[in-house]
């Protein structure tokens, strides 16, 4: 029964693995302080640490609410990865062309805002092929025959490959069941997103085809205002540039690294992230287990520039002056006309007239009615503020602000693991394996090293019960401090999100 203190050590920290300190001490030290009896009776704490006995209704309620919140967040993140025809900025979109199985975990709201504010290059549809010698007709011909709103999603693409090894156990743990449940929920969200994406893709292709046909018949094209005009496509893709990371061709309005002025498309930028927390390489010591190391020495390193490896990696984006369409823009992508200076950003005085124009237009076109007018009014103020500023630098930490929390939970998990190892060790010790005597003389004074001291071998001193008790209490205190620290950080995080 549950005699497996390391079982929470797989790659998942969904916050439910926290052992209450009270439970820990109670289990270990027992009511009567009869340490020996308690421990030789079996390590029971791991099976009862989430026992119903310790959970009062308020806590349970709170946990439930948190679960609902988390689910909402997951769903929002996945749905925000759907490319929508209407959500376009300067001919690009608010979600990436390839969703990578909906596993992309950057903060989607932040990125959407950055794109809308023209601080990050929008997700343009990439071209697989491009030749600078193409004439405009050849270019348009290639684009119209080849672009898709989003890469096709095949049924198998949504499966994630991570398999929980604990699922195959005889006695499946509660957290493992929960993980399975989350996985199923996530799969449903992904399927919904994929379905929505397919609908958008089909509409996009159909509109492109119909627009061309109607063009030939000289019908009016107001139906297709969200489909970029040929003028816009030529303007965007005329001097396409290759992103040096994905090798795809994009309009030349890419993000530029601040350190070495290299282009990088937004698609590649949002995929970059910090490595998992790890021990510093210099101190890597192969002779020691990870469990013997101090959890507080785990580090998380900033993402370095992919091109020049400098650690202060950031990008800037300068939006095109002569294209200003879509959200907060002056017209819709279908209306863009390269000869009409109204589409561009050159003329400030035009602003007021422009917004009137768009409102009029909205009256006629139910398609645009909902979105554009609402944002358009404050856009003018926004734009004026933005205009004087030099472009702001965007970093990976900005679109993935959760790194600090990740590091902290990695440290906590590590601390728990080493505590469990210590406890295991204590048991075997009390059960009286001869020749396994340990030096615990200097123990509980030094928080960070007490496991190590405790586990170092080769001294002939016999451990007494009281010393062990002291260590366990020390361990319990340390864990509760770590728990508290983590809780505070989570709260701060929540606070920040609320703002």
């Amino acid at each position: 029964m549950g005699n497996v203190p390391g079982k929470e050590s797989n790659g998942n920290n969904n916050g439910n693995g926290s052992m209450s300190t009270a439970a820990f001490t109670r289990e270990f030290l027992g009511g009567d302080g009869n340490l020996n009896g308690q421990i030789t009776g079996g390590l029971r704490y791991s099976s009862s640490r989430k026992g119903k006995n310790f959970e009062d209704p308020v806590v349970r309620q709170r946990r439930k609410e948190r679960e609902i919140q988390k689910n909402k967040y997951r769903n929002k993140q996945i749905m925000n990865l759907v490319v929508k025809i209407n959500e376009n900025v300067d001919g690009g979109y608010l979600a990436p062309y390839d969703c990578y199985k909906y596993e992309l975990d950057y903060e989607t709201d932040i990125v959407r805002d950055l794109i809308i504010n023209r601080e990050l290059s929008p997700f343009f549809i990439p071209l697989q092929d491009f030749n600078e010698n193409w004439t405009n007709d050849e270019l348009i011909n290639y684009i119209l025959n080849n672009i898709k709103l989003h890469e096709n999603i095949k049924p198998g693409d949504l499966e994630d490959n991570f398999e929980d090894p604990n699922e195959h156990r005889l006695h499946v743990s509660a957290s493992s069941l929960k993980r399975k449940q989350i996985k199923i929920q996530k799969m449903k969200m992904k399927e919904n997103a994929a379905e929505l994406q397919n609908t958008e893709n089909i509409k996009f292709l159909k509109d492109i085809k119909n627009k061309e046909r109607d063009n030939d018949n000289n019908n009016d094209n107001d139906k297709y205002l969200q489909i970029p005009s040929n003028d816009l496509l030529i303007k965007l893709y005329k001097d396409s540039e290759e992103c040096p990371i994905c090798f795809l061709f994009y309009p030349k309005y890419l993000n530029i690294t601040t350190c070495c002025s290299q282009p990088i498309c937004s698609e590649c930028f949002v995929q970059m992230k910090r490595l998992e927390p790890h021990f510093p390489h210099d101190e890597e010591d192969n002779t020691r287990d990870d469990e013997d190391k101090d959890p507080n020495s785990l580090i998380s390193e900033v993402v370095k520039c992919p091109f020049c490896a400098i650690s202060s990696f950031g990008i800037t984006y300068t939006p095109p002056k002569d294209i200003r369409v879509g959200i907060y823009g002056k017209c819709l992508p279908g209306e863009y006309d390269s000869n009409d200076s109204n589409n561009s950003d050159n003329d400030d005085d035009d602003n007021d007239n422009e917004s009137n124009e768009i409102t009029e237009l909205d009256m006629e076109d139910p398609f645009t009615k909902k979105k554009i007018p609402a944002v358009n009014n404050n856009s003018n103020n926004n734009n004026k503020e933005k205009k004087d500023k030099s472009p702001s630098i965007i970093t990976i930490d900005q679109i993935r602000p959760d790194w600090e929390q990740k590091l902290l939970s990695a440290r906590t998990k590590m601390a728990r693991r080493s505590a469990a190892a210590t406890a295991m060790h204590a048991t075997s010790l009390l059960q009286g394996h001869s020749g396994h005597n340990h030096n615990t003389n200097q123990c509980p004074n030094n928080n960070n090293n007490n496991n190590n001291n405790f586990r170092s071998r080769g001294d002939s001193n016999r451990t007494s019960g009281s010393q062990l008790e002291a260590i366990l209490i020390e361990e319990a205190v340390r864990l509760s401090l770590l728990d508290e620290e983590e809780r505070k950080l989570r709260e701060r995080e929540k606070e920040r999100r609320r703002k």
Binding site: Y100, Q128, K154, G156, D157, N161, P244, I245, C246, F247, L248, Q262, C268, Q271, M272, L275, H278, H281, N286, E301, K304, C305, P306, F307, A309
Partner: protein, 149 residues
């Protein structure tokens, strides 16, 4: 498996149309992410005149994650262990998505020219390399002659 990203297709084309001297990388027909690599031992090193076989695999998240590379030919080198695993920073923490198959293989070739016994993967080899340098070089030469044909 989903279709192959443009980047992998382009890299493969370039590797074949414009190969690096001393390095060939050929993708498997049934799995285009899996490459057979032949690497010439750099001249001036104890691996000179040897041809080393390696395997290279591009994981799903390549180029965000580094390729996995392993020596298949037995080699006596302080940074390469008995299983052929390679200790090289650009294959781990210092990987950058701007690096390519081509540049990674060149880095491995450079590692053969300048071993780093202070950051060893094969501890015994590294000890020998530091304490009995001539003998280590000799062994590396012998292994090259024996296995890297």
């Amino acid at each position: 498996m989903s279709s192959l990203p443009k980047r992998i297709i382009r890299e493969t084309e370039r590797l074949i149309s414009d190969p690096v001297p001393g390095i060939t990388a050929t993708p498997h027909e049934e799995n285009l992410r899996y490459f057979d690599v032949l690497l010439d031992g750099p001249s001036g090193s104890p691996y000179e005149n040897g041809v080393f076989k390696l395997e290279l695999f591009l994981p799903d998240d390549y180029p965000m994650a580094p390729p996995m590379v392993r020596f298949l030919t037995k080699i006596y080198h302080p940074n390469i262990d008995r299983l052929g695993r390679i200790c090289l920073d650009v294959l781990k923490n210092n990987w950058s998505p701007a690096l390519q198959i081509r540049t990674i293989l060149l880095s491995i070739q450079a590692l053969l020219s300048s071993p780093n016994p202070d950051d060893p993967l094969a501890n015994e080899v590294a000890d020998e390399w530091k304490n009995n340098h001539d003998k280590a070089i000799q062994t590396a030469r012998e292994w090259t002659a024996q296995y890297a044909k």
